[in-house]
Symmetry: C2
Subunit: 270 residues, 2 copies
Amino acid sequence: MIRITLISFLGPKGTFTHQAANILGDELIPYCTIPAVMESVFNEESSMGVVPIENSIEGPVGITLDSLAHNFDLKIFKEIIIPINQNLIVNPETKLEDIKDVYSHSQAISQCSEFISKNNLQPHYSVSTARAAKDIIGDKTKAAIGNANVVDLYDLEILKSNIQDTDNNKTRFVVLSKKQHKPTGRDKTSIIFSIYEDRPGSLYKILGIFEKDNVNLTKIESRPSKEALGKYLFFVDFYGHVDDELTQNILSEIKNNTYFFKILGSYPEF
Amino acid sequence: MIRITLISFLGPKGTFTHQAANILGDELIPYCTIPAVMESVFNEESSMGVVPIENSIEGPVGITLDSLAHNFDLKIFKEIIIPINQNLIVNPETKLEDIKDVYSHSQAISQCSEFISKNNLQPHYSVSTARAAKDIIGDKTKAAIGNANVVDLYDLEILKSNIQDTDNNKTRFVVLSKKQHKPTGRDKTSIIFSIYEDRPGSLYKILGIFEKDNVNLTKIESRPSKEALGKYLFFVDFYGHVDDELTQNILSEIKNNTYFFKILGSYPEF
């Protein structure tokens, strides 16, 4: 079982997820969708898989949250947070005034919307920042927005770096595995739950369970449950590990007061 | 000031937002972005503007929430909820087996992901469902996904209707105005707030304000505040009108316990 040391990530090579996966090791395999990364871990084609889960500007990555909630039983084994520096990537010897069209993933386009409108560029969506770079090769009227690592792959250049609207641009990635990480003393636990919509104050009662034990939430995020408008799944992260007695008590109390409940795992804080 | 009777909407013509705007009247002008619709209302080029705010499968429309929070002081004057039926739109005399590529807005592509993968189609993103339809004209290897209304605009045909993954596919639109709607007896109020992150249990205390008066929330949605990972704005809808005394008491108590607070308006429930 040599292949089990491989790490899968949301590709292609040269994306921000690739940069995050590099922190874990160098036996990396790109997969072209987030569910495909999860499936590779589930089928044991890889031991871990790296996917983005939220960006500080654009918010949650819906397909990651939905796939963890509904389609795959995987543990969050680690989290990785990296600053996102978006670059204007061009063919050699291109000037800013040559460029008419700019290509990138829709999240990167949104993150650079001020730069794009100030420079009168026409935005186009690509499936990834790396694919955008590949698509502009040989055409000086086109630029891509993406990770600096991509320029070496395709013989391109960076014309301008840090073109995102704000400096607080960070993405949080999760490393998924079939294994649960051991307690380290500074751990976070991620859970998903649905409240009973017909019982007023349900969310208030759930938050009261954490409040009673003075346990801090580091995240609370709502997602549509896909059942109807106004019905939500809540994704909550808090300090603690599933092996702690206090955390176990909290989890069992939440389970008793929700109609959908899933533990996504405990892992060291990044 | 004849132009003030005009209603702006997120265009182009033939989109689902166009369908929602049709409910209000027929003097409609398309604008090409959500902020442009809001600006037209703010500048009084139109009296009302229609934009999507959330979909039951794909979740919130980030640019609408962010623009209401940070960029425009507009009231939600009405809400409109319509069922979303996605259609496979093709050139005349095209068969399913002719089609290789499918074009649509990224939300529509996500909503039909099972149909797309079952039929081995290659998805491509367009800026709108209507633009996707325009882009396939004359090429039988290409199909678009979108609103049935678009076929008459471009002489296309519907090959298959209701191709979305689930039947619970609805989109909620908001009608924005500079005016506040009068109380009707069955109203909702929308607010945005940010909690003090350094005070544990802040969100719990805010929800307690509603709980105390037995006021039901119809929505609670978190969005990144754009300041840092883990900092959120909360979008909350609840029953009541800003002219009610009870609602006024609730709003002033929330204002005193949050560091960012904005009332988006009171409007009749759809």
